[in-house]
């Protein structure tokens, strides 16, 4: 599982490595990370990236680096997240600014939802999304997920979006 690679029409998702640190550092040190986590400094960004990398070693799955078929440049992270203390297994996505607006987030996250159910054999999956992050709400809904208001959340300002099993999700575009 550690060498897992997912491919979609336009994207290749691979395990992240040291070459992806700089894009991650820029992201978590910028305003773009306001709904994720601001790193106080580069040291914290470095340590957070260590955790992203090591999640694979500890859990056997983790966040993929999003790349296109053209080159190996990382455009963001998408994938499966379940560190100690998380309530439910999560599908997460972080897109670097240069990759926005092309539908990459949807394409990558859709592949990860399918992977979660079909390969990792999860029986359910959620995405924790902060209040105000309307673009992520929209992406979750486009993926077929719905705001599960009854679910226990990790923090008061996080909505729990629940992903239905691929066989049960609504038709695309009907959300």
């Amino acid at each position: 599982m550690t060498e897992a690679i997912l491919t979609t029409e336009r994207l290749r998702l691979r395990r992240p490595g040291p070459q992806d640190l700089e894009g991650y550092r820029r992201f978590v040190r910028s305003q773009r990370a306001r709904y994720f986590y601001f790193a106080k400094n580069d040291e914290e960004a470095w340590r957070l990236f260590c955790i992203e990398l090591a999640h694979w070693d500890l859990r056997g799955f983790g966040m993929f680096a999003i790349t296109t078929h053209e080159d190996d440049n990382c455009l963001g992270l998408v994938g499966h997240w379940y560190p100690e203390g998380w309530i439910e297994r999560e599908i997460g996505w972080l897109l670097w600014p240069e990759a926005e607006g092309k539908g990459y987030g949807f394409e990558a996250a859709r592949a990860c939802v399918d992977f979660a159910f079909d390969v990792l054999a999860w029986d359910t999956a959620v995405s924790y999304i902060e209040e105000g992050n309307t673009r992520s709400f929209a992406l979750a809904e486009k993926l077929g997920a719905y705001w599960d208001e009854a679910a226990t959340t990790r923090a008061a300002d996080l909505r729990v979006y629940r992903h239905p099993h691929p066989s049960e999700r609504p038709e695309e575009g009907s959300a």
Partner: protein, 176 residues
């Protein structure tokens, strides 16, 4: 990068594995963490342990899981350590509860230092030790290191920098 397996008379130094998460978390919930950043919740301990593993991926080296060869028990984490923002590459050691006082830290750190010198090509190494951590300072002394200066770490506060004898000095026997 996965850690190699190194051995000493009594110890095996190897990769950090998922099964080490619980003993490390137990250590970080105890009072023995006064000199290494303080107590951590299981969630924070997991993140710290993940950072140790990610360090290997980013640097190509890091702390080894040190087990007692005879029993297979995890004794502690020892090894070369150089996270972003560290003053210099260091040899660090931390023993789990119940494994102190038997020379394990010295034995493992000496092996890890030799690996850093011989394989990583380090020409010098420090160890950062909290003032007041007498047992750790004693390990540094047994390794031939000397107190070079005090520094202030942004997050950990005042720290002593102990300087290890370099590879040439060790070969010449000056460091013992």
């Amino acid at each position: 990068m996965t850690a190699p397996v190194l051995t000493t008379e009594r110890l095996t130094l190897g990769p950090l594995l998922p099964e080490h998460t619980d003993p490390v978390a137990a250590f970080y919930s105890s009072e023995r963490t006064d000199f290494v950043g303080g107590r951590k919740t299981p969630e924070m301990a997991w993140r710290h342990f993940a950072t140790e593993i990610g360090h290997w991926t980013l640097r190509g080296y890091g702390n080894f899981a040190v087990t007692e060869t005879a029993t297979g028990q995890l004794v502690g984490l020892v090894g070369p350590w150089f996270p972003y923002g560290w003053p210099e590459p260091e040899i660090g050691w931390m023993l789990l509860d119940g494994f102190e006082g038997r020379g394990f830290a010295t034995e493992a750190a000496e092996r890890a230092r030799a690996w850093a010198y011989d394989t990583l090509g380090w020409t010098t190494a420090i160890s950062l030790i909290s003032p007041g951590n007498g047992p750790s300072a004693a390990v540094a002394q047994r390794l031939g290191a000397w107190l070079e200066k005090e520094t202030e770490h942004e997050r950990f506060g005042p720290m002593q920098i102990w300087r290890h004898p370099g590879p040439n000095a060790l070969r010449a026997g000056d460091g013992q």
